[in-house]
C-alpha cells in the first residue's frame, strides 16, 4: 500500500499525515511542483496553511502541477483523502462539492470532537461501523462546510455524507453538522477534523483516526473502489 502525501509551501500537518500513513503502509511526500505522483495507491492532501491561506484557503494550491495530476488520478478512480486544508483544496478544485467558509464563531478553534459515522460502506470508513463515534481533533478557522439546498439533497440521497459532528460538537457552523463528505463515486473524501492526529493513544488519547487509513488500505488490497 503506497500513499503519496502532497506538500505545498505552508503545509503544516504533512509530516503528521506521513507518519500516520506509514503506520498502515508505505508513504512518501510529493512536492507541489512535481507532476509525477509516483506509483501511489492513494493521495493525501494534508492540513496546514498552503500559500498562507491567501485569497481563500486552498485557492492557490489547487492550481499546482501536483494537483493537476491528482485531478486526473481521481478521475481514474484513485483514492484521494483531503484533511482540513486538503479538504479546502479539493473543494476549490471541484473534486468535492460545496465550499469551506470561515467558522461561524469567527475564531480558530482547536478541540477534540466526536464524529458520527453516517456511511460505513466506502473506501474511507469500511473499517468503521455505521453510527459509531470517532474521537478526532479538529483545529481550523475556515471549516464551515456549505452547499446549496439542491446539492445537499442530492448528496444525502447518494450517501455522500460520511461523517457528522455529534450533537453539540459543531463549532464551525457546517450545514447539517456535516464534518466529512465524499464525491458521488466515493473515491474522493474530505473532512475538516484531523484523523492523522488520532493514531496513537499516547499522543492525544484516541487512535480512532487510524481507522480511516486502515479503510483505505483494505480498499486497495481488495482491488480498489
Amino acid at each position: 500500500m503506497r500513499f503519496g502525501v502532497l506538500q505545498f509551501p505552508g503545509s503544516c500537518d504533512e509530516q503528521d499525515a506521513l507518519a500516520a500513513a506509514r503506520r498502515v503502509g508505505d508513504a512518501e511526500l510529493i512536492w507541489h511542483g512535481d507532476r509525477d505522483l509516483g506509483a501511489v495507491d492513494a493521495i493525501i492532501v494534508p492540513g496546514g496553511f498552503s500559500y498562507g491561506d491567501y485569497l481563500r484557503a486552498g485557492a492557490i494550491a489547487r492550481f499546482s502541477p501536483a494537483m493537476e495530476s491528482v485531478i486526473e488520478f481521481a478521475a481514474g478512480g484513485g483514492l484521494v483523502l483531503g484533511i482540513c486544508n486538503g479538504f479546502q483544496v479539493l473543494c476549490e478544485a471541484r473534486l468535492l462539492p460545496g465550499a469551506l467558509l470561515p467558522n461561524a464563531n469567527l475564531r480558530f478553534t482547536s478541540r477534540q470532537v466526536d464524529l458520527e459515522v453516517l456511511y460505513a460502506g466506502g473506501p474511507f470508513t469500511r473499517a468503521c461501523s455505521l453510527g459509531e463515534t470517532l474521537s478526532i481533533p479538529a483545529k481550523h478557522s475556515w471549516g464551515r462546510w456549505y452547499a446549496d439546498a439542491d446539492t445537499i439533497s442530492a448528496m444525502d440521497g447518494a450517501g455522500q455524507f460520511v461523517l457528522r459532528y455529534a450533537p453539540g460538537e459543531n463549532f464551525n457552523g457546517s450545514e447539517h453538522d456535516i464534518a466529512g463528505v465524499s464525491n458521488e463515486r466515493g473515491n474522493v473524501f474530505g473532512l475538516m477534523p484531523h484523523p492523522e492526529h488520532a493514531v496513537d493513544e499516547l499522543i492525544g488519547g484516541s487512535d480512532d483516526g487510524l481507522r480511516i487509513f486502515e479503510s483505505m488500505r483494505m480498499t486497495v488490497e481488495a482491488g480498489g473502489v
Binding site: L55, R56, F63, E92, L101, P102, N105, L106
Partner: protein, 85 residues
Amino acid sequence: MAEALGCRVRARVLIRPKAGILDPQGVAVERALPALGFSGVGNVHIGRLIELDLEDPSQLGPMCEKLLANPLVEDYEVQLLDGGD
C-alpha cells in the same frame, strides 16, 4: 515601465458573500457598532477588494470565475477605473 506594456487599465474587483449565506463577520461588525455609539446601522456585509492593472479587461470575468472569487459562495463585481494609476 508603463509605456513598455502598452495601454494599461486599472480595474477593481469587489467580492461579496452571496445573499442568503450566513455572514458572521458582517453580523459581528453590525453588533459592535452600537456599542461605539453608532445607531441605525443594519445589513452589514464584509467582502474583499482586489485592485489590479491589466491590458485586456475582457480577462477579468474569467479571472474572477477561476481564481479571484469562489462563485459557489461569492458574487463579484468588476469596475473599470478611469485613467489608470
